[in-house]
Symmetry: C2
Subunit: 394 residues, 2 copies
């Protein structure tokens, strides 16, 4: 038997593991210090009351023979897919029910979707980038090329027609940079993909943070996207489901090539290698998109956006350049005094006991940058930003 | 962009989809007839009270800031992995905690584990076989060879040293045949795999149905398995989790080749393409392996085993040959009067309104056989077996 030797080509340490290791080492050496974490993008607010109510009711369903649920549909229950469809139509995107696939999270689907593509494709990812886009393709032995996201282009690379890509990753609002495309900018990517016959894997996990109407909440708000895009979305950031695990993927029926249909292939992949999301979790997710549920989760999102504003305000005061913070839970800042990402990580940890994420972990262009997230509690965010202000203003 | 053209090589219709289609067609044409389903292997009893209690408590945890759970460990919470380790040690298998990976089900992991193997491996699957073993490998472009499971070998093929396999699938107790290997028989497979440097993917999803002590509940009860086997298990059949989604995979640290460690690769795969099982579900699963939980789920298993006994008794009375039914929820019977599998399917549906699963759907050697499952309610099982008896005794 031969193992998959492409695993040799994956960078050895996962970014967040290294962050955790350095933090743990510091904590062990300084047990008296209170460490504040604005690093990993994990939420901190509890699930919304409507979701909790729905989860309890679903657990009750599982306790009685008459209401018990066994294997569900691979693509998710209709009660949830209908709510997702309504959510899309609330901002003008019309979808067929069988274009929506419920999953256990955007990360799983972003990785697993590669099963439907040939190994023999060239992958274009922005740099810096969510490491999972790269690692999943390295594992499969695909060739990867990069689109530079830099201060010069506002961390929003635009298509370069001299580059021939087959599979294009776009994350907007972006992780880690917090930058978000307008519909006009996305249209350029859609035109580029359609002209090449490429596919765009569009990660919309942070769409709920968009408040500026010019920005795209879905790539399907852009003409032409239905022939070239797959969209991945998640309840993780929308409704605090990081530990509850539910997402959804939209695969339009017009995305076809050489007699293959992405929609049919994805259904085949899922029915063969997946058995659906827990009934209980789907009931909880369905509560998110009720009137009451939406009201509650929007209050939570406003809470995190207020944290982002706090962080952004301190950066403004210090004269530190950054993107994000307005239509995104991430603040992507330029490390002060020419420090490298990991230098700044250690500097912040040692002098302010604040943990962030080094931009270098997201790619070559991330060097010299640093990511802070708005997902902490307001108290932690306030204290952390005060410490940062005190440390850097001197 | 090129799609994965190996999808062309997958058989077009998934077995259970065809069963569902024929049944729906019959039901539409005969709305007055009561159809009894002993087809798909889905459970019917509600979750055990201890599990329900634990699920409710976990939902409450998610409702308060102090007890809320965000991203969990990729490999599952320790509270669950410790219970799984204890369960294994209750029948003599010692495992390290980091050899246990919690998943959303055996089916997902059986498919996803292929990520860690090179495409360039020869896969040996028994025939008949759970279709997922074949389809997942066809999708990835691997060469598949078959080990004949027939009446002659009691549907338990043994190793053939003239065949050079790299990845070997074993499911025991078997789906669909209900046949189960003794430890001595499994030892022959382990020796064969070790002599070739092959890996055994051991599907133990039905281990909880074993009552005969000579049969293996885990491949790790066999000497030498730790250098050649990965084991997949599930709460689906053990505790009725088909709609709740939780399983576990054991990857021993001794499974290494050419400097690669299966355990490390699987952790890398999971941390890159998976974000863990819902906290709530893991809490529910942990309740299964408490004293009270085990008592409750064993009562449920006894209920299904009684159904199996009912079906087996009728087959005995009719003089129909079968395997399974004792240490398995499946009864694999020879179609009477030389009927083909699908002929018998239609015959039973039309004349007794009983739905089973045609053996031919599981492979070439399944032709002329038929699978009935013990997962229905006792009432349905009793009525279905009475109808079968009445139909076939004439």
């Amino acid at each position: 038997m031969k193992f998959n030797s492409y695993f040799n080509d994956i960078a050895d340490s996962y970014l967040f593991a290294e962050v955790a290791a350095r933090t743990a080492k510091y904590a062990a050496a300084h047990p008296d210090k209170k460490i504040l974490r604005l690093g990993i993008g994990d939420v901190t607010l509890p699930l919304a009351p409507e979701v909790i109510k729905s989860l309890h009711a679903a657990v009750d369903d599982m306790s009685a023979k008459e209401t018990f649920q066994g294997y569900g549909p691979y693509e998710g229950y209709e009660f949830l897919r209908e709510r997702i469809r309504n959510y899309y139509s609330s901002y003008g995107v019309k979808l067929a029910l069988d274009e929506i696939f419920v999953s256990d999270g955007a990360k799983s689907d972003l990785g697993n979707v590669l099963d439907i593509f040939s190994r023999d494709n060239t992958v274009l990812v922005p740099d810096p980038v969510y490491p999972v886009y790269v690692d999943t393709n390295v594992m499969a032995g695909r060739k990867i090329i990069y689109a530079d996201a830099t201060e010069q282009n506002g961390f929003l690379p635009m298509p370069d027609y001299s580059v021939k890509a087959d599979i294009i990753y776009i994350c907007s609002p972006n992780n880690p940079t917090g930058a978000a495309y307008t519909r006009e900018q996305l249209k350029e990517w859609v035109d580029y993909a359609n002209s090449l016959g490429a596919v765009i894997l569009y990660d919309a996990a942070y769409e709920c943070f968009i408040s500026d109407d010019r920005l795209a909440r879905s790539i399907f708000t852009v003409d032409g996207a239905r022939t070239c895009a797959i969209e991945f979305c998640s309840f993780s950031k929308t409704a605090g489901f990081t530990g509850t695990r539910c997402g959804y993927t939209v695969v339009p029926k017009e995305l076809t090539r050489d007699g293959f249909s992405a929609n049919k292939m994805w259904l085949r992949r899922q029915s063969t290698k997946f058995n659906g999301v827990p009934y209980i979790v789907q009931r909880g997710a369905a509560a998110v998109f009720t009137d009451e549920g939406l009201k509650e989760i929007r209050a939570n999102i406003a809470y995190y956006k207020n944290n982002a504003k706090l962080i952004a305000g301190v950066m403004d005061g210090l004269g530190i350049k950054y993107t994000g913070g307005k239509n995104s839970p991430y603040i992507w800042l330029k490390c002060p005094n020419g420090m490298s990402s990991w230098e700044f990580f250690d500097y912040l940890l040692e002098n302010a006991q604040v943990v962030g994420t080094p931009g270098a972990g997201f790619g070559r262009n991330g060097e010299g940058y640093f990511r802070l997230t708005a997902f902490g509690s307001e108290e932690v965010t306030r204290e952390a930003t005060q410490r940062i202000q005190k440390l850097l203003k001197k």
